[in-house]
């Protein structure tokens, strides 16, 4: 339970980043977005597929995406589109994530910092 919670905390912001990245390419509905995440991450990032919808609704409330119910393949689905504010957020989040990833990679490789002196 504790581990799962920590994983969730660690992944805070990642679903938003992935959803915005996919929507920056083209408008998509929920199922397509889940498939897109699975394909682009090679299945490494797996979470309850239903959890993308509250994230999408929050992004919509923040003015980052817009969702409209449209006909898709003979059915109606809520199709999401990224908005200009969403593109700005995506650029900022991508930059921040790259900095974090580079810092973690540097730390794991043991380079860039001297060992702390003891005594």
């Amino acid at each position: 339970m504790t581990t799962a919670r920590k994983d969730t905390d660690f992944l805070n912001g990642v679903p938003e980043l992935l959803l915005l990245r996919l929507l920056a390419r083209q408008p998509m509905h929920g199922y397509d977005l889940v498939q897109g995440i699975r394909l682009t991450t090679g299945g490494v990032l797996a979470f309850g597929e239903g959890s993308v919808y509250p994230v999408l609704h929050r992004l919509e409330a923040e003015g980052l995406v817009a969702g409209t119910r449209e006909a898709v393949g003979g059915r109606t689905r809520v199709v999401y589109r990224i908005r200009p504010l969403g593109r700005k957020r995506l650029a900022a989040a991508t930059s921040r994530w790259e900095q974090v990833a580079a810092a973690v990679a540097a730390a794991l490789n043991g380079g860039g910092h001297a060992e702390p002196e003891l005594g």
Partner: protein, 247 residues
Amino acid sequence: MPNRSWAERVDDELARRGVPARSRRRLMAELRDHADDLTDGEGLTMTDDVLIARVGEPTVLAARAAEDYRRARWSSRHPLLAFGLLPLPATVLAFAATVLAFGVAANVGAWLTVGDTDLLPRPAMVALAYGLAWGVRFVPFVLLAVLFTRLYVRGRVSRWWFAAAGAQVLTVAGSLVSAIQFRDDPGQSTWTLGVAWLPVPLHDGWALPFLSLVGWAQVAQVAVPLGVGALMVRAARRRQAVLAVPC
């Protein structure tokens, strides 16, 4: 179409966590669409086990959804505006709304009973005047206590933001002066209304009370909204404690 028991469990868990009905309906509709896409796209039969494995376990899904809806709230994203800058304008509005509501209710009541407020018997007029004078001491601040406590509990912002809003509202509540002085001569009665740190117009001139008018009435004006807010926070904590108990 999701298995009914799974969908019901998700909906129940969302409701227990305070997700508004409109947001619940929208989420459940999109989850139904998603389940249909899973059936059509992957040929899956929607059993409880499949829904839990693919779409999510109801309690986990509802918890994450409740957290996202909380983060989507305006007051959570702009605590400075909601808890730092809104309280004083809201106090003025709540005060004006209380006076307006009281005036409308008094006029409607008089119109229904005697046809005109001027025809009201003097005891009724006195009761109305005292009701208004005492009502403005408590009603606006209780309304504000309910409003800001709900924003705090639902938005789960820092307690310091809640304290900042509470301090502003309670400072006004604790310094509001509202007193009726009735005289038998027509037109000679006075209603003293003001804030104790500002000059107060009295029937024989102006007073600079500098908090000297603050007494037990003002203590009650602070205690009542404070108590309402404390009870609401306590009730919310108890609800959260119940939710935290594993079933």
